[in-house]
Symmetry: C2
């Protein structure tokens, strides 16, 4: 299958984090960092009623990710794992997901909390976060189970950047 898909940004993410190094590695460990999403005016109509949701899922392009490798050392471990068993940003299709708190919407600007994206990140989609759709009782978390204690305060060390 040699198909390809071309996507265009619907907006851009403004973040206090200007470079990969030092950026929180997950929004759940971001400790409330604020950011702003600027939706391009031609998409603003699609935001109606989004302000009723406390949390939103951002789908975006990891614009500073380097070349992907299929075996990598993730941020939270010293051992190599298959790329798809990790959340590393350098992926064959460098698509990022973050669940953030939506504080309020002013026109085409969304003020958000728990930012783990880098300034200028191109936004591809927004979806409402819905526990009845998105929550699972996961009983196995593989190599992460013995490493998750390192998450609080863990920062990007820059090793996946281009």
């Amino acid at each position: 299958m040699n198909k390809s898909f071309v996507y265009h940004p619907i907006g851009v993410i403004r973040s206090p984090y200007k470079v990969p190094k030092g950026t929180p590695i997950q929004s759940s460990a971001s400790k409330g960092a604020k950011g702003v999403i600027e939706i391009f005016p031609e998409y603003q109509d699609g935001l109606k009623d989004l302000d009723g949701f406390s949390h939103i899922i951002l789908v975006y392009h990891f614009h500073l990710a380097g070349k992907s490798n299929l075996r990598i050392k993730p941020f939270l471990d010293e051992n190599f794992h298959g790329l798809f068993a990790t959340r590393a940003p350098a992926r064959p299709n460098p698509i990022g997901l973050s669940i953030v708190r939506l504080l309020h919407i002013e026109g085409n600007r969304l003020v958000i909390r728990d930012v783990d994206m880098i300034e200028g990140t191109p936004l591809l989609d927004i979806k409402p976060y819905v526990p009845e759709f998105d929550h699972r009782e996961a009983d196995k978390t593989g190599w992460l189970a013995s490493n998750i204690h390192k998450l609080p305060g863990k920062k990007d060390d820059g090793h996946f950047s281009g």
Copy 2:
């Protein structure tokens, strides 16, 4: 910002659902339907250690979605809402997300449960589902709060297909 991003499938999803109409609208309402993901051989190395996770996040292209509109009637309501306040498949960038149960991996084939994708869906990425990353206590779910009771058994009626 006139950038665009070109993504290539890493595999294809095999599903018992052959057309949009009648397909479950969320994996959380799929009641255990089984499917198979065929990862293209050149990406198989990236699957190492993924079998340690009970749930995985699939990122895929809604290949049968029609033209997107910014105000739509979602599957679960009779009223119009902004597209980004819904999970409808016809989106400016038709990227789908599903959390499914990973049963086992045989070489480049992942056997999964809770399928809500359609046969032949091009897969863009796999990420491990990690409660510490992905679970939020959402206190507001907007227009969905009064409609979520319709989720069990709700099927795609085909109105977002191309």
